[in-house]
């Protein structure tokens, strides 16, 4: 494809069908290098705008003067970007010329394209059906930003000692400056979509969730999940004026619910997290294994905290990565192996911390402990049954027996005061019903349901 008669015919076709996604494809940089080169070589800087104007002003395309002007600018900006993209791609294949920050140039050219496109919506009256163009351009902006950051960080000669001399310096910030810039640009795009006052049928509001998803993704990457709150708030505040959530494409809904769920998870709002992640999982395409894996990474700890349920082995079997992550812990919890649980948690610590589930999984120790204590209780057996009555369990358990059980795994002596502390905790959190009598060194457990939710 080049900017020739064939191309303009295709455009005419797209415009008459109002097919936004197909239009967006004409602005994608993600095409074979040869094709990109054809576009780039089809014109030069002098001829490009004239050619576009002639091509687009065919009455059949049906653009008014302003729109025409806008699309000429957009395709001209796209054309200039192709030049730098080609240069970057070429230098990647031969690494000797990597002295320039080529991807930074690509990022800048692409930002320019996005700016022109945005102006199209703000002042040249681009119609809402063309919104997918924003999707494609924004998505690649993010990709180029990451590439630019990566290139700069790999290139030690651009390691600015410069930035280190600012007053409030943070070497980390410098490492991802383009991505941070990208986040700012995207949030502007988000506002342009979000604040459109046109009637719903032709509103840019339909773009809100796609852009919000990109933005959330970027914030997560930048480790500033806290900024995401603003996006969620803005979407919630616009609730009444927004189209029904269910009217958005499924793919956007899954992604959004996932992000919303993870954010709630990070704020320890497990109720909301569980709900959002469950929604996401149910909406998720059956073959989107990686996405399901991501959702489950947070949903499983949620269930552990909320309803003390563990994933079944069948479920884990379908996701080897999750199995590796969770199975050891789950087994320890189920069997009440406290010490092994500690070891498993330690073993997976780096991975858990990276995924930000460590602090939540750690609380699974309570469940492991409960299961262990329950075993002690069961092992005590029954009181001697009275005539004609059902035998009752022995509900008075010496603290020392619990202590013995706790130190069984680690073989480390634990003093009774600490055991009592752990027991008091179990009682306080409702994992165990009963009370400690310090005077007698025993625990008196409830006759009915000493361990709620476990049938004893």
């Amino acid at each position: 494809m080049a900017f020739n008669a064939l191309f303009f015919n295709e455009l005419f076709d797209i415009f008459s069908k109002q097919d936004g996604y197909q239009l967006a494809q004409t602005l994608s940089p993600d095409i074979p290098t040869e094709e990109l080169r054809r576009i780039c070589r089809s014109h030069n800087a002098h001829s490009i705008k004239g050619a576009l104007k002639r091509g687009l002003s065919a009455p059949a395309v049906g653009l008014d003067h302003q729109e025409l002007q806008g699309w000429v600018e957009v395709y001209a900006a796209y054309w200039s970007a192709t030049g730098v993209i080609l240069a970057a791609r070429d230098s990647n294949s031969d690494s000797s010329r990597s002295s320039d920050l080529l991807w930074t140039k690509v990022y800048e050219a692409w930002t320019e394209l996005l700016n022109v496109l945005l102006r199209g919506y703000q002042s040249w009256g681009f119609e809402a059906w063309t919104i997918p163009c924003l999707y494609v351009v924004c998505n690649h902006l993010r990709i180029f930003a990451m590439q630019a950051d990566k290139e700069r960080n790999n290139n030690s000669s651009f390691d600015d000692a410069a930035a280190a001399l600012q007053d409030d310096f943070d070497p980390e910030t410098n490492k991802r400056q383009k991505l941070e810039d990208c986040a700012r640009v995207l949030s502007r795009v988000f506002m342009v979509c979000q604040t459109d006052r046109a009637p719903l049928e032709e509103s840019r509001k339909w773009g809100s969730y796609y852009i919000a998803n990109l933005l959330l993704k970027t914030y997560f990457k930048l480790n500033s999940a806290s900024l995401s709150k603003n996006i969620l708030n803005s979407l919630r505040a616009g609730g009444r004026d927004m189209p029904e959530f269910s009217a958005f494409p499924k793919s956007q809904r899954v992604t959004f619910k996932y992000h919303e769920g993870v954010l709630a998870f990070l704020e320890e709002n497990y109720v909301l997290a569980e709900q959002c992640l469950t929604d996401a999982l149910n909406l998720c395409h059956k073959d989107a294994k990686r996405n399901k894996e991501l959702i489950l990474t947070y949903l499983i700890p949620c269930h552990l905290i909320k309803s003390h349920t563990l994933p079944t082995e069948e479920l884990l079997e379908r996701f080897p990565r999750l199995q590796k992550l969770f199975l050891p812990l789950c087994q320890c919890i189920k069997r009440g192996e406290l010490h092994k649980f500690d070891l498993a948690l330690q073993e997976g610590e780096d991975e858990f911390v990276k995924r930000r589930i460590y602090l939540t999984l750690e609380r699974g120790r309570d469940i492991a402990l409960r299961n262990l204590l329950r075993k002690v209780f069961l092992a005590r057996g029954f009181e001697e049954a009275k005539e004609g009555e059902k035998p009752a369990r022995r509900t008075r358990v010496p603290v020392s027996e619990f202590a013995a059980a706790i130190s069984l795994g680690s073989q480390e002596k634990i003093d009774n005061d600490e055991v009592e502390c752990l027991l008091a905790n179990m009682i306080y959190k409702g994992h165990m019903k009963g009370y400690i009598s310090r005077q007698h060194g025993i625990v008196v457990l409830s006759k009915s349901g000493a361990f709620p939710g476990t049938n004893v």
Partner: protein
């Protein structure tokens, strides 16, 4: 009002040699939460005279005498001087009026700047007691003073760098005159300083292209700086700048090289480019640090120390000094601020230190990482806590202080108050000051646990021990303070804490204590 202290010795009179001898005693001493409790345990208990009610005025029990140290930080010494009411003489009033006559106004000087200058001038006059003797009618107006200062600020700096830099490229003369015209241009076009440059990047770039460390005489950046400066000048003449930002001094030309020989200097927020004559070079600052360490040990005057450290930090910043010494200054200031519970300053120091350590500078990295973790526990900042965990290397996790902080975190996460209070007693370095900030709420949480878990009662001594109170009296007082008057009972010489009766008595206080922690300069 600023607190007062002995005026610094005049330059020259201070025998600077007396401080060059290295004085390496640390300015702080590690604290222990409680030194001994066990001894009082074996001695027979004094009979408590109270049966059912512990009056708030209960006399301290003899066992309290065993308490060695009390670490609760005293509230920052408020040495605020009483504001004296001043009767302004007419001459001063006239002077102020004259300054604001429209004809005298200068568009390059903002009103805020003028007011600041006025205030400064008058306050100085008042402090020197020359308010009445001064001839206010011939006094230069604040806008004039500011203009002169601006012009002055750029001059000495250049002559200085000229004298210093053997690498100075030709064209220095031109540069000088350029800057003079700059000043004029600023006035005529009501222009603003260059850091407002539209592109935003302008300011940082011209700052950073200068040699980061003059002592090294790095040649390359100086050359590049020429270009940038030319750009900058160009831009200025295009009259791009239309707003004036207050409080920030116009950017100097690269780092200042100080010449001040005074050891002490009061902190003053810069409103103009720093004057080399008022900035202390590194070798002086080193002496200052030793002096301040001594002073702190001797006088413990926090407002003085804090002010001095701030001015030291300022001198380091304006000279762009970032080395191991900088780290030391921030570390010591952080420790002192911590000791005095000044979280604002502490946080400033910590965030600078974080960056400095990242640059690879040496310091007590582990000690301060441990503080950071404890601080995040205090502010219940889960996200940052996770980040902090992610940043730790395996070796760091084994470090004593960091391991302690991690253990504290895990004990709290699992509700193991028994372990938590043991750790509280074993806190290395100055972490106890941080832990003091949340030990109260953890005691409440533990008390809630105990009330729910134990029936019918437990000895008060048990509470004292489990929650590491200094004494039974303190434990009792804590219970009383949270409306547990009727929960203490004397039964044949033993004080009992009636957990069975407590119900959810302490839940409210607990919830309140755990609700949002809001701290100045929170990180």
């Amino acid at each position: 009002m600023m607190p007062t202290w002995p005026t610094p010795p005049a330059p020259g009179t201070q025998p600077s040699t007396s401080y060059t001898a290295s004085y390496s005693a640390p300015a702080f001493t590690p604290v222990q939460v409680r030194q001994s409790f066990g001894q009082s345990y074996s001695t027979p208990q004094p009979p408590y005279s109270v049966a059912h009610t512990y009056g708030p005025s209960h006399p301290p029990a003899p066992s309290a005498a065993n308490i060695a140290t009390n670490v609760n930080p005293a509230p920052p010494a408020a040495q605020e001087q009483a504001k004296t009411k001043i009767d302004w003489p007419d001459s001063v009033r006239r002077y102020v009026q004259r300054a604001f006559i429209p004809a005298n106004l200068d568009s390059s000087v903002t009103r805020a700047d003028m007011e600041a200058k006025l205030k400064e001038t008058i306050t100085q006059a008042n402090e020197k007691n020359i308010m009445y003797s001064l001839d206010w009618d011939t006094m230069p107006l604040p806008q004039q003073m500011i203009r002169e200062e601006r012009a002055r600020a750029s001059l000495p700096l250049h002559s200085k760098s000229q004298a210093q830099g053997p690498t100075q490229a030709p064209g220095t003369k031109k540069r000088k005159s350029w800057d003079l015209t700059d000043a004029a241009a600023v006035h005529s076009a009501s222009a603003t300083p260059p850091w407002r440059a539209g592109a935003g990047a302008g300011r940082l770039e011209d700052r950073v292209t200068f040699s980061p460390d003059r002592r090294q005489g790095d040649e390359l950046p100086k050359h590049t700086s020429k270009f940038n400066r030319a750009d900058k000048r160009q831009k200025r003449h295009e009259g791009e700048y239309t707003t004036y930002r207050e409080d920030t001094p116009p950017p100097g030309d690269g780092p200042v090289v100080g010449t001040c020989q005074d050891l002490e200097k009061r902190y003053l927020r810069l409103t103009a480019a720093p004057k080399p004559s008022q900035v202390r070079p590194p070798h002086i600052l080193r002496q200052t640090l030793e002096l301040l360490k001594k002073r702190w040990k001797k006088d413990q005057n926090y407002s003085y120390i804090c002010d001095q450290f701030k001015s030291m930090r300022q001198d380091l910043t304006v000279q762009r000094i970032r080395d191991d010494f900088t780290v030391e200054v921030y570390e010591i200031h952080a420790r002192i601020a911590l000791e005095k519970g000044d979280l604002g300053e502490y946080n400033q120091c910590q965030s600078q230190l974080k960056g400095l350590y990242r640059l690879g500078l040496k310091g007590k990295t582990n000690e301060f990482k441990a503080y950071r973790i404890l601080y995040y526990i205090h502010t219940a900042n889960r996200t940052e806590l996770n980040n902090a965990l992610a940043d730790l290397t395996a070796a760091e996790k084994k470090d004593k202080a960091i391991k302690h902080a991690l253990d504290v975190r895990s004990a709290l996460a699992l509700g193991n108050y028994h372990r938590f209070f043991q750790l509280y007693n074993e806190t290395p370095n100055m972490g106890a000051y941080l832990m003091d900030m949340f030990v109260g709420r953890e005691r409440l949480a533990a008390l809630c646990n105990i009330c729910k878990g134990y029936k019918m009662d437990v000895p008060l001594r048990f509470v004292t021990e489990e929650l590491y109170f200094e004494s039974d009296v303190e434990a009792a007082q804590f219970i009383l303070d949270h409306e547990g008057q009727d929960l203490l009972e004397d039964r044949s010489g033993t004080i009992l804490f009636l957990t069975g009766k407590a119900g959810s008595r302490f839940e409210g206080a607990r919830a309140k204590a755990f609700s949002r922690v809001d701290i100045k300069g929170q990180i």
